[in-house]
Subunit: 258 residues, 2 copies
């Protein structure tokens, strides 16, 4: 907080880079867009971008770096994708390696970084509108197939939130104002109708019995392209570790439609 004109996002990235911050990005630098990170070789970049274009609700691409350039020049020109996530997961031939806090030694001239909007982006707007975001929230696999492109394919992954009816309506309105960041829910109500796997959430812990008076809402989730890239068993695929998203300098309001 003593860093003068440095925005909270840049301050946090500096702390991450210096090893002073290694916790989750959730709740950090509120109001700044957080992104899912996907780094892969140029050879696969067109198909991956095509996959994202065909599944735009789940895969809102906010920036793509030039091959070999670790700097996201539009969303965080002072950042370095090799050091500025608190934790990374590296997949070699689709197999997860040990988590790391730095991928500098893995960097290559042909690597392309994709910054894909995260549902965390609209949390601040939801909170301001009176919709709590800190509980009753899970990431689930569904049985809705995505549109494939090249080697990338798989079922849609969603964020499920349980809200009361008034919150459900407000949350639908607020998130619809982020068309470039998942937008409105893709489903409301019965999880089974989209094959959402409540028995085995990817994140968020076990799903209890739903308290009376709540409704389930489902948003397309930015974990979808990560999951597709992992399943494609690329020789090298790097992503942020769960809940350790890349924090940009872009104010979430800039992604909000009037």
């Amino acid at each position: 907080m003593t860093a003068g004109a440095m925005p909270e996002s840049a301050r946090l990235r500096a702390d991450i880079r210096a090893g002073r911050h290694s916790a989750t990005s959730r709740g950090q630098a509120p109001g700044f867009v957080q992104c899912n990170l996907a780094i892969l070789p140029r050879e696969f970049a067109f198909d991956f971008m095509l996959y994202c274009q065909r599944n735009q609700r789940a895969c809102p691409v906010l920036e793509v770096t030039d091959p070999g350039d670790p700097v996201p020049r539009r969303l965080a020109p002072g950042a370095d994708l090799r050091t500025d996530c608190a934790r990374y997961t590296v997949f070699i031939d689709g197999v997860a390696q040990a988590e790391r806090t730095d991928i500098t030694d893995l960097w290559r001239d042909d690597l392309v970084g994709f910054l894909i909007g995260s549902g965390i982006t609209f949390d601040a707007a939801l909170e301001r509108a009176g919709v709590p975001t800190d509980r009753h929230r899970w990431v689930l696999r569904t049985r809705l197939p995505t549109e494939p492109a090249g080697p990338f394919r798989g079922d849609l992954i969603v964020t499920m939130r349980w809200l009361d009816p008034a919150q459900a309506i407000v949350a639908t309105q607020v998130t619809a104002r982020f068309p470039f960041n998942h937008g409105a829910p893709i489903h409301i109500g019965d999880a089974a109708a989209i094959g959402a796997d409540i028995a085995a959430p990817m994140f968020g812990g076990p799903v209890p019995a739903m308290p009376p008076g709540l409704t389930a809402l489902f948003w397309a989730c930015g974990v979808t392209p990560q999951s597709a890239a992992q399943a494609a068993r690329l020789p090298l695929f790097i992503t942020h570790a769960p809940a350790h998203a890349f924090i940009t300098d872009l104010a979430a309001e800039r992604l909000m439609q009037p």
Copy 2:
């Protein structure tokens, strides 16, 4: 009109394919999304897609076909990109060849088709809101540089419309509801402020003196990526001829935000 369940868009494409329709697409199949078409070799497709992503207001990519596949399976599954524009322009090493009504003999296994939203898409919505779209409209080069990607670069091309103040406000509201199809204006007022070349419009005929009481509004235009692709002097680049856009089966309302 005797084709039963065939939508107007498909009927028109059938007429084009059979040589029964060769006029402009403007005003045809109202309410269906019209697209700027860009066809180029796979080798350049990633950089072109990156260019479109970095200049999204000008280059709203609505569909990208798989290499070698001439069918736009999402927006017009019964169509064929090789025959269903009324006229095509072919560039070889950046040099325009004679216009054609069919590009079947040029088709190759490595060609990728990009369907990019056209400003014509929101004409019907503007007309319904009381904003005339049939006059005081030009396509102009500006001096606003786009963000380059690979060999693709150039200045932004805009559509200028002259409207009265009430129309200008309504048109801003209506087009803002199409964030995936150019969206709101990028500028209002002085053409010189963005270097818009009023002396030499690309389309629309000579620009007369502005009648009193009108204001100029400027929207990012889907001719921008075409112009960048042409300037890149690719060995082969194919596009629709001016005012002969590709007509999809997608209802324009489907691109409209609430």
